[in-house]
Amino acid sequence: MKAGGRRGRLFVLGFPSLMLGAFFLAPFAIMVVYSFYHRVESGFYEPGFELTHYRNFFSPLFTRHLLISIEFSVLAAAFSCAIALPFTFILSRYPRRLQVAILVTVLSVLSLSEVIVAYSWSVLLSRPAGISNLLVAIGLMDRPQSWSRGYWAVLFGLTYFNTPFAVLIMFPQCTRLEREITEAAQTMGASPVRTFLTVVVPMLRPTILSAFILLFVFTMGAFVTPQWLGRPEHWMFAILIGDQALQRGNIPFAAALAMFFMVVTLALVAITVRLGRSQEARFR
């Protein structure tokens, strides 16, 4: 250990500390403070301390939107995990070349902006250019229909957006699943499907849980998808925050909403983690 080595080490962390502290933690702290500010009628706000904003939450409107946000998030996370799990497992067993090709596809889809995804699906589900035209051509439908602007469209869009992400989260653990374990199950009479359900899934349980939690949080932040694929009643919480902050200029209220949102999200995550752990305990 060189003298001054300790200082040197800390120095290395100077820039990151500055950046994260000043541009992440500080904004966060300020937001907390702001949520207590007083809003003046003309559209501005002044420093103060009041709980008006927090009280405003418990109106039926916000409660409804909070509930639908949770509903969408839970379902979209669950669906995308269910699709991604077999997909990723199969992917992990493919030869390398094919793996890379599929991963590139998944990554490319993943990196797409929510804007583009929502736009693309609104096109695909629309009347003039959408899939329904294809089904009419085959003969399964009489007339093209618009499937956009609805509950299922939103759910579909959210699940779609999540799935590549789920694949990437599950990928490392899937590759670590020893081939010999699934082969052993086969020698004992388990068909591939049975092997997947009785051996692979139980062994991947922790990964599935983490993926679910991460996706849940991720989906809660959905902004564009519900706006373009759904109707105002389907708007999720992040949209409301944006609306308050940008359209109505009511920053303190937006800040309060954001805090509330974060608390609810973290609470749900904590509950899920706790549930997951107690399941593990029962396991042993």
Binding site: E178, E180, I181, E183, A184, A185, Q186, T187, M188, G189, A190, S191, P192, R194, T198, V199, P202, M203, R205, F283, R284
Partner: protein, 355 residues
Amino acid sequence: MSGLALRGLSKRFGELTAVEDVELELPEGKFISFLGPSGCGKTTLLRLIAGLEKPSAGRVVLDGEDITDVPTHRRNIGMVFQSLALFPHLTVGENITYGLRIRGTDRTARRARAEALLEAVHLPGVAERHVSQLSGGQRQRVAIARALALEPRLFLLDEPLSALDAKLREEMQVELRMLQQRLGITTVIVTHDQREAMTMSDLVVVMSTARVRQVGPPLEIYRNPANAFVADFIGTSNLIEAEVAKAAAGDPAVRVAGVRFAVERLPEGASAGDAVTLTIRPEDVHVLAAGENGPNRLAGRVSFVRDVGVSVETFVACDGITVVSIASPKDRPRVGQGDAAVVELPREACVVVGR
């Protein structure tokens, strides 16, 4: 027609040929070893039998039934993997009865069977424990019990003892052998340890570079290696360059460094002047004092003596060839390092193989 038959079995992975044209008839109820150096194809061959790999060519026939196209989960074989592959999320008992559960056996019957199998592998009462709580040797036994749970037609093991320490290894070798004899199940074990193969097997299949080099009972392989590879791989052997000597009929001989050596047998189709290899086990070589000439003897000088307590190894350099002799302490040769000496290669101990 019972037993396992492999007909013209080959497996290629792209450019690489792992198994080439294997033709084997393995009798039922015997303990068979696939023996060879790393990369010789023995594990691939085992996996072909298990159905975990699809052959590029050839058929696998078990008890007269062609099972080549039958998927693994319907072949009814028991297999112990090199990594053991025990299910970490199940208890020992659940691991063992996994296959029975699939077949729909009820819980009481399963539990009884698990207990019985654990007794058979000398590991009673651990059914409720988790795999992570067991030692390496114990896990080994659980893997064996699990493989036998469904009373399979074939029992396959892929280097099952390689992870164990020496003492445990030897114990398990004996136990496995005894288990197999008691159950009478056709067993194939893959190993690179020739002592293991020689100790446990009824039949040894020696392989190298994707091909089968020799098949036979252990002693046969040791005494009569079919070619230079087997002679070299099995036990230690002297491999001496020689050429077939002009001989009268009924008196086969080779020339080593110009000296004529009478042998029992020459390889098929060998004619005078052909290059061959004379192989002889070091324990069959006699080292005598200089000047004691006679038939099948070669003069030289002792280059090195190694006394390892249980045996004495004498290295004699004769005209560019080194011959090694191993003797027990009481038969120690009377010549020491640097002395002139004579080596005798008795006719009945010489095995001549093609070069």
